[in-house]
């Protein structure tokens, strides 16, 4: 078994159907990387949230390529539609502009390069780990469709379903209590 798991070995031509799919995949990955870079490096937090939304839109495309259109839709709905908007609301309520220049007390000049090298090291290590490992493929038993996911959520994985509903309920109540405390 080779180290890199590839489903079909033949490389498609650029102007065939598979080639155009490949181009769309590359565009999606570009979207993910650009969005992540904007979200991490932007000076203003509103732009960072916009980068987050761009990145997660691209990630929805990646999930679509991983044969799960249901999760691609959920990604758009939950992350792009809900979480980004929630963070934008948070920014509007707390107006947290990051200080620059003179405001950066208590902060070593080394913080930026050190953070970058740590992240680069992590990336290199994870990439090497992903590329070098001999992944073992198991024979496929189920299918990818939504019906199977729904059946599994209500039968074999019903505990997860119940647990996640309780977590979300507690999060809603907790968020209300926390945000309401100290208000006069």
């Amino acid at each position: 078994m080779q180290a890199i798991v590839c489903q079909s070995g033949a490389a498609p031509a650029l102007f065939s159907a598979e080639g155009i799919v490949g181009v769309i995949f590359l565009l999606t990955v570009t979207l993910v990387c650009t969005g992540a870079m904007i979200a991490v490096n932007a000076q203003r937090l509103v732009r960072a949230v916009a980068g987050l939304a761009i990145c997660f839109t691209g990630l929805a495309g990646v999930y679509y390529f991983l044969l799960s259109p249901f999760l691609a839709m959920m990604q758009l709905l939950i992350y792009v539609g809900a979480v980004s908007i929630l963070i934008a609301f948070g920014i509007m309520m707390a107006t947290p502009e990051e200080k620059s220049g003179a405001g950066m007390k208590n902060r070593s000049v080394l913080a930026g390069p050190l953070a970058f090298s740590t992240a680069a090291l992590m990336f290199a290590a994870l990439t090497v780990l992903g590329l070098k490992t001999q992944w073992q493929i198991f024979p496929r038993q189920g299918t990818f469709d939504i019906k199977a996911v729904g059946m599994a959520l209500l039968t074999t994985h019903s505990l997860v379903f119940e647990l996640i509903s309780i977590v979300l309920l507690l999060a809603i109540i907790g968020a209300l209590v926390l945000a309401q405390r100290g208000r006069n």
């Binding site: 890199i4 809900a82 994870l126 992944w135 493929i137």
Partner: protein, 108 residues
């Protein structure tokens, strides 16, 4: 054009996951407000779910499990964002700032 066949390879998705994870780590260290750190933590969670989806697509015997795991991660991330934003609003109400350099009351 081996480049156009990348979407059929497991390692592509693993590299995307590693990239998102390292962006998250970098942002966690560099950002100076709680909201910036919250955004970076979303990237770390997204990296985890990308990896789950990739293994689910290429290796797993039952492709339902990874999708359910990713759904759980999404729900946890949404709950975490809601709680973090409400904590942040409470902190802002008391301190008039959410800059991590100023929130040092517990520092010895």
């Amino acid at each position: 054009m081996q480049l156009l066949n990348l979407y059929n390879c497991l390692s592509t998705y693993l590299v995307i996951g590693a990239l998102l994870f390292s962006f998250g780590i970098y942002g966690m260290v560099v950002r100076r407000t709680v909201i910036g750190m919250l955004i970076s933590s979303e990237f770390i969670l997204a990296a985890a779910s990308t990896n789950f989806m990739a293994f689910n697509r290429f290796l797993a015997p039952d492709p339902v499990v990874g999708q359910i795991f990713t759904l759980v991660i999404m729900a946890i991330a949404a709950a975490e964002a809601a709680i973090a934003i409400s904590i942040m609003i409470a902190v802002y109400r008391n301190y008039k700032t959410i800059d991590t350099d100023d929130l040092v009351d517990l520092q010895g």
